[in-house]
């Protein structure tokens, strides 16, 4: 059986950084199986985790001084909550692993500690039926596990509640930017080609001159939608995310016009800033711990319609500007 440490090395920290940026995603895995932490005996607790290395590291990293077994389920490299939501982290999966690792021979008790956020995928009563081990739901955050164990496997209300602190929101923003970069890179190439079009058909110089502000506007929209709005989320008025993004985007667009000039082309680009910011803010629903599927389905059509209209009008103004100037 593999033995793991509760202290994270520089490789782990580098891996965490790369996963947080989004350079590695589903490939960042640990092998499913049973791991030893410290010197567990047959009475030591068994903690269940996902095989996304970020999940595994955040668990073991908080267990200094604890002797325990860690049972890593095969969640295809997906974190606890998302894997549970998609049904990959299930009672069947955990039961299979209990049998494969012969856990019943290593411990005398019949109890597994599951992360609370595994509940959407793992039914405790099914698990008991499948492998004879009963499930105890631990706290939401790995940081509270020592407290949970010390209190005789009990959680208070705070340990059972998800949070969305400034730090937690900020941590999620690099991957939002990273994933948006690729489509936006192609968008800028496309804008460069369009930028050259004028009364004399096409000019490379005009293309270059006009695509620079277009690229700046795109960067402003990206930052305001994927970084600023998530970080300042609770202070941006409104509940619907597309609306929050539209508010921030409108301000950012106005700022863009103020720094450049308020000509027709820049007003068009300001509308593009607002549309892009609104879309990226709406996309952040996928990263928050409080948006429901019903809610997102409700706001999505309105948001998308406004974004498409704004982007189309903005692009139209920007394309028409060189013709009107003559």
């Amino acid at each position: 059986m593999a033995r793991v440490s509760s202290s994270l090395g520089w490789r782990d920290r580098l891996g965490t950084l790369r996963a947080r940026i989004g350079v590695v995603r589903h490939r960042y895995r640990v092998n499913p199986g049973l791991y030893c932490l410290g010197n567990p005996t047959h009475e030591s607790p068994v903690l269940v985790s996902a095989n996304y290395k970020l999940s595994f590291d955040s668990l073991r990293g908080r267990l200094a001084g604890i002797d325990a077994f860690i049972l890593v389920a095969d969640t295809r490299g997906v974190n606890v909550w998302c894997a549970a939501g998609k049904g990959i982290f299930s009672a069947d999966e955990v039961a299979l692993l209990v049998e494969r690792t012969a856990l019943a021979e290593r411990v005398s008790h019949r109890r597994l500690i599951l992360p609370q956020l595994a509940a959407p995928g793992v039914a405790a009563h099914t698990l008991k039926k499948n492998c004879g081990f009963s499930a105890v739901f631990g706290p939401v955050r790995a940081a509270d596990i020592k407290k949970f164990l010390a209190a005789g496997m009990k959680c208070d209300e705070a340990m059972r509640s998800v949070t969305f602190t400034l730090g937690e929101r900020a941590t999620l923003t690099p991957v939002e930017v990273y994933l948006a970069l690729k489509p936006l890179f192609f968008a800028i190439i496309f804008l460069f080609v369009l930028a050259g079009i004028g009364a004399d058909f096409f000019s490379f110089e005009r293309g270059l001159a006009r695509s620079v502000p277009a690229a700046v506007a795109t960067a402003v929209g990206l930052f305001s939608g994927a970084v600023f709005t998530p970080v300042f989320l609770p202070w941006v008025p409104g509940r619907q995310f597309w609306l929050k993004g539209m508010e921030v985007g409108a301000l950012a667009g106005a700022g863009f016009c103020y720094w450049h000039d308020g000509g027709m082309a820049n007003i068009g680009l300001a509308l593009w800033v607002a549309a892009l910011c609104s879309y990226l803010a709406m996309n952040f629903t996928g990263a928050t711990p409080f948006t429901s599927l019903s809610g997102v389905k409700k706001e999505l059509p309105r948001g998308l319609a406004c974004q498409i209209v704004l982007a189309a009008v903005g692009l139209g103004l920007w394309l028409a500007a060189p013709f009107i100037r003559g």
Binding site: A123, S161, F164, L233, P234, R239, S292, G295, L300
Partner: protein, 99 residues
């Protein structure tokens, strides 16, 4: 409570509890990350319906199937929903947004 400043759309989440079927085990109270349920006497009760994010942990862990949560596949993520629309219209199985 910290999450009170993060409220999503009111009267939108689909969450129902069949009080007659409830056996009062308290699993829903335990697993809910938004503390939507409370145990009153021998029955669970929904005390904050608008706090629900439809994660489905309560329904999954109800031993008598007394809880109904929006069963639609997927998560509360705009890109994922857009992708499922595109795939339904085109008949493809794309994974455009890596989620």
């Amino acid at each position: 409570m910290k999450m009170k400043k993060f409220r999503y759309l009111d009267h939108t989440a689909i969450l129902r509890l069949d009080g007659d079927a409830c056996v009062g085990c308290g699993n829903c109270v335990t697993v809910c990350p938004h503390r939507v349920f409370a145990l009153e006497g021998k029955k669970a009760r929904i005390v904050d319906p608008d706090g629900c994010m439809e994660c489905g942990g309560c329904a999954k862990n109800c031993p008598v199937g007394a809880i109904f949560v929006n069963p639609d596949d997927g998560c509360g993520c705009a890109a994922y929903i857009i992708q499922s629309w595109i795939n339904r219209v085109t008949g493809l199985r794309l994974n455009l947004f890596s989620c």
